[in-house]
Every structure is written in C-alpha cells, then in structure tokens.
Amino acid sequence: MTTDEILFLAQDGNAVTAVLDFVRDWPNMWPSLWLGTMDTVYMVWWATVFSVLFGLPLGVLLVATDKGGLIPAPAVRAVLSAIVNIGRSLPFIVLMVAVLSLTRFLVGTTLGPTAAIVPLSIGAIPFFARLVETSLREVDREVIEAAHAMGTRKATIVGKVMLPEAMPGLIAGLVMTVVTLISYSAMAGAIGGGGLGDLAIREGYQRFNDHYLWATVILLVVIVQVAQSLGDLMVRRLSRR
C-alpha cells in the first residue's frame, strides 16, 4: 500500500481514522481513566483482602469438617456448604442489589468504590472458598496421615502441611478470584460503584462516547493480563511437584 492510498483511506472515515482519533483523544480522557483505574484497583484490592480473610478459613473448614477430615462434623459442613452454594448461585448483579441495605449499614452509603467493596467481597468469598476447598482436597492424604503419625497438632497440620502443600493451587485460585473481581467491579459500575466499569457505562454507553468504551476495555484487559501473569509466575516458582 502506498502512502497516497493510506491517506485516501484515512480521509474516508474508516478504521484507520478512527484509531488515530482515538489515540489523539487519549490525553483528554486520561485523567478520568486514571481515576477509574485507581478506583477499580482499590475495590478489587480490598475485596481480595476480604475474600482471603474469610474465604480461606471457610475453605479450610469445608475440608476439615468433611468425613475423614481433621474435625469431621457433617452437620456443620452441610450448613457451610449450603451458604457457599447460595452465594455462588446468585448472579452478581442481583447480589449487588440484594445486599444494598447491608452495604448502607456497613459503609453508610451505597454509592462509590468503598460501598462496592461490600458486594464484591460477599460475591467473591464463597467463590474463593470453593477454590480453596478444591486445592486442599488435592493434598496427598498419606502426607496428612504422616503428619498425624509424627504427633502433629491439627492446627499445625493445616498451617504447615495442608496450606503449604496446596500453595500453587491456592495462588491459582486467588488469581482466578482477582480476575473475577475485576469483572464484578465493572458490573458494580452499573449501580454507581465507580471505577472503569462506571466510566464505560456513563461516558461510553449513556453518552455514546466510543473512545471511553475502548479505553476502558483496553485498561481492563491490561489489568487482567498483569494479574494473571504475576499469578502464573508465582505458581511456577512455588510448584515443586
């Protein structure tokens, strides 16, 4: 293709012009895109912290209370499992609306990134708990038995045998949770949660500004890629099998 041809095409309002327009528009959008990105990172970060804080013990309990576990308690396990299933079966957009009054109680408002942390955490805790459960189940039973034979306390077995042995799986689960939270956080934008999702809907959808739509998509993809790559790297370094 010659330069003339490119210029000819560019004048014709086609893809190339659109991309050029988009690139030229980037500096104008950047302040709000940066704020949106920070809001997304902020929401996802805290929701991840709460998911680990509650989801990890919940996952451990799901395994420990199971038949043949460290503290078999079928009734307790049935209740926990049911709670986790309820959390897992609600579509996030419904869950978000359903917990609005709890959000108001905890945060004082239902708007903004801080308020979005509540539904995000509630959505991700059961998700992460199930992934924790699956990873812990894969720990070799013979290794756990060996720990018992060495006179190890149950809490020590969890802390020094089950969790370290399951670590690659746990990190992979955590990455999956973070990626899910990024997608949830964009949904949180729909009800005024802030972040990139909010930007995409307000500027992109409601004001028909395609540039914002593209920009948010690019940023979300980049964030997910970074999270996934970091996680993969950690899993690789931790895997000793």
Binding site: E142, E145, G151, R153, V161, R241
Partner: protein, 322 residues
C-alpha cells in the same frame, strides 16, 4: 516392646461390615524386626495403624515400651506418637519442602530449636546416605532416595520403634534390597524395634526375625521365622519354599530349619538302603540362617526308619497324606 492384645476393628460400609481386625494379639520383642505379611484387605494396614493409634481399635489394648497407648488422648497421645517413627509406602514427603525441611519437620513440630534441628538433620541424612541432598526437593529424587528421606524423617525424634507401611512396595527389586539392608543396619546400630507390613514374602525372608501371616483380620500363624519354618504344616514354610505339586504316596517334604554339614541324603541310601529321588527344593538364607526344603520320593523296606533318623537329627519330616 510392642504388646497388643485382643484388637478388634470393624468398618461399617454402606451395606456391610468389614472386620478388619478380629481379635489380633501382637507381641514384638525389643530389637527385633517383625514382619506381618498378607494379601491386601487382610487387615495388616489397620493393624499397623492401630499400633500408633492412627486407627483406634474398637476393642483391645496396645502397649508400646510399657506405655498403654490406647489409654492416651490429645497431647499425651501426640507425645507418644513422636516416640515412634513411621515409614510410608508412597514416602509421604512434603513436596513443598526440601529434603532437610522434610527430615526436620518432626523436630519442628516437637519444638526443637532451629540450630539443633540443623545439626540433627545433618546427622540423619549422613546416616541414610543422603548427606549431599539436603537442599534438593523430593521431586528431584529417585524412589529409593525418597524412601531414605522418609526413613531419616522417621528417625528424627530418636524413636525406639519404627513402623513400616509397605516401605518397599513402590520400589524396584534392587532399590528394595538397599532399603531393606538400610533397615537392618539401623536396627543393628540403633537397637530399633521394627514392625513392618508387606505383601512380599521376600521381605520376610530377607530381614525379619519374626513374622505373622495375616488373613481375614487374624493371624494364621505367628512367631520366630525359624521356629515357624520348623513347624509342621507351616504356611510360611510353604510360601517361602514353593515346591512342585507332584509326587505320590511316597513323597516326603524335608525341612532343614538351620544349616547342616552332614550329607543326609547319601547317608540315608547307605545306612537304610532306601531310594531317594529329589522332586524339587531350595535353599534360602532366612533370618541369618541357611534354610532348605526338599520334596523327595523315598522308597525301600526301611523307609520309616530312615525318616525317624532324619527327625532325630533335627530335620522336619512331613509325609504326603499325613
């Protein structure tokens, strides 16, 4: 060292009950290697796990080194378990820890300081011949090396008793040989008492002083290996020396329960004028003794006299159909 009396254990499955232990009595002397052999499902695994109470028997008493384990719970049971080492079929090493980390684990659990742990781990790895592998991960080791790590770990807390759960079943014959030699050396050097379970007769033959044959949750026979071999009708003798199933009413099975210098067969033909025809047999080194078993056809007028002569000289004579 290990005294278990009247052990019963029943598992309740969905539609039936399995009697894994049906009133088993187990007596293991201090410093001996005691092997329990049997098919899978015979209950040997449950028996072994009853000794350190990984499985609590429904009934019966377990004493180890004068301590009634079945009376212990919680912290005191954990302390008692630390005085026993256990070796596992699939090694049961922590894949996330180095060799040194694995061997040091029981010490860590027992609250031994980092410095003392490092010293002890070094000694243990030398003892099992893996002094250069401290920083390797289990996935980088061969099966035999992994089991050596397992043995070093089992010895970390200086136990007097070692329990071995099919320690060589996942290994090739050559490696099995070296692991068995290591176990025997450790018994000799450290005065360990070893209780092992296996489905391989070979293991009994190579290192055990005493043995029990287990079937359907009970012992078919149990005792010193050499005594068992010298006992008429011994299942162990038959398993160690498979003889051809040929011959008729004249066939006699002769067991040599120890090494003999006398040339019995030629003696027989000379003194009693009998014809001896060897059908099959073998000589094996069992519990440090050369032990043999022969299946022969013997005929002649003075046959009964000849057999009596063998019995009087300490050989075990079993006649076909008797």
């Amino acid at each position: 060292m290990i005294d278990a009396v009247g052990l019963h254990k029943t598992y309740r499955l969905k539609n039936r009950q399995v009697h894994a232990l049906n009133g088993v009595d187990l007596h293991v002397e201090a410093g001996e290697i005691y092997g329990v052999v049997g098919q899978s499902g015979a209950g040997k695994s449950t028996l072994l796990r009853s000794v350190n109470l990984l499985e609590r028997p429904d009934a019966g008493v377990v004493n180890v080194d004068g301590e009634e384990l079945t009376a212990l719970r919680g912290g005191r049971l954990r302390a008692a378990r630390r005085r026993m080492g256990m070796v596992h079929q699939h090694f049961a090493l922590l894949s996330s820890r180095t060799v040194a980390g694995n061997v040091g684990f029981p010490l860590e659990v027992a609250g031994v300081s980092r410095a003392r742990r490092a010293t002890r781990v070094g000694e243990l790895l030398e003892l099992v011949g893996l002094g250069d592998k401290a920083r390797a991960y289990p996935s980088q080791l061969s099966g035999g090396q992994k089991q050596r790590v397992g043995i070093a770990r089992a010895l970390a807390s200086d136990p007097r008793v070692l329990l071995s759960d099919e320690a060589t079943s996942a290994l090739d014959p050559e490696t099995t040989e070296s692991i068995l030699a290591l176990l025997r050396r450790l018994r000799d050097e450290l005065g360990l008492t070893i209780l092992l379970i296996t489905h391989e007769m070979d293991v009994i033959k190579r290192i055990c002083d005493s043995a029990a044959i287990m079937e359907n949750g009970g012992f078919r026979e149990a005792g010193r290996v050499l005594d068992l071999i010298g006992t008429p009708g011994s299942l162990l003798a038959r398993s160690l020396f498979p003889l051809p199933d040929i011959g008729g009413s004249e066939t006699v099975v002769i067991t040599y329960p120890r090494s003999f210098d006398e040339p019995f067969m030629s003696e027989l033909t000379r003194r009693f004028d009998v014809d001896v025809n060897i059908l099959g047999g073998g000589v094996e080194r069992v519990a440090g003794q050369s032990v043999g078993r022969l299946s022969v056809d013997m005929s002649g007028a003075r046959r009964a006299e000849a057999l009596r002569y063998l019995s009087q000289n300490g050989l075990l004579v079993e006649e076909a159909g008797k």
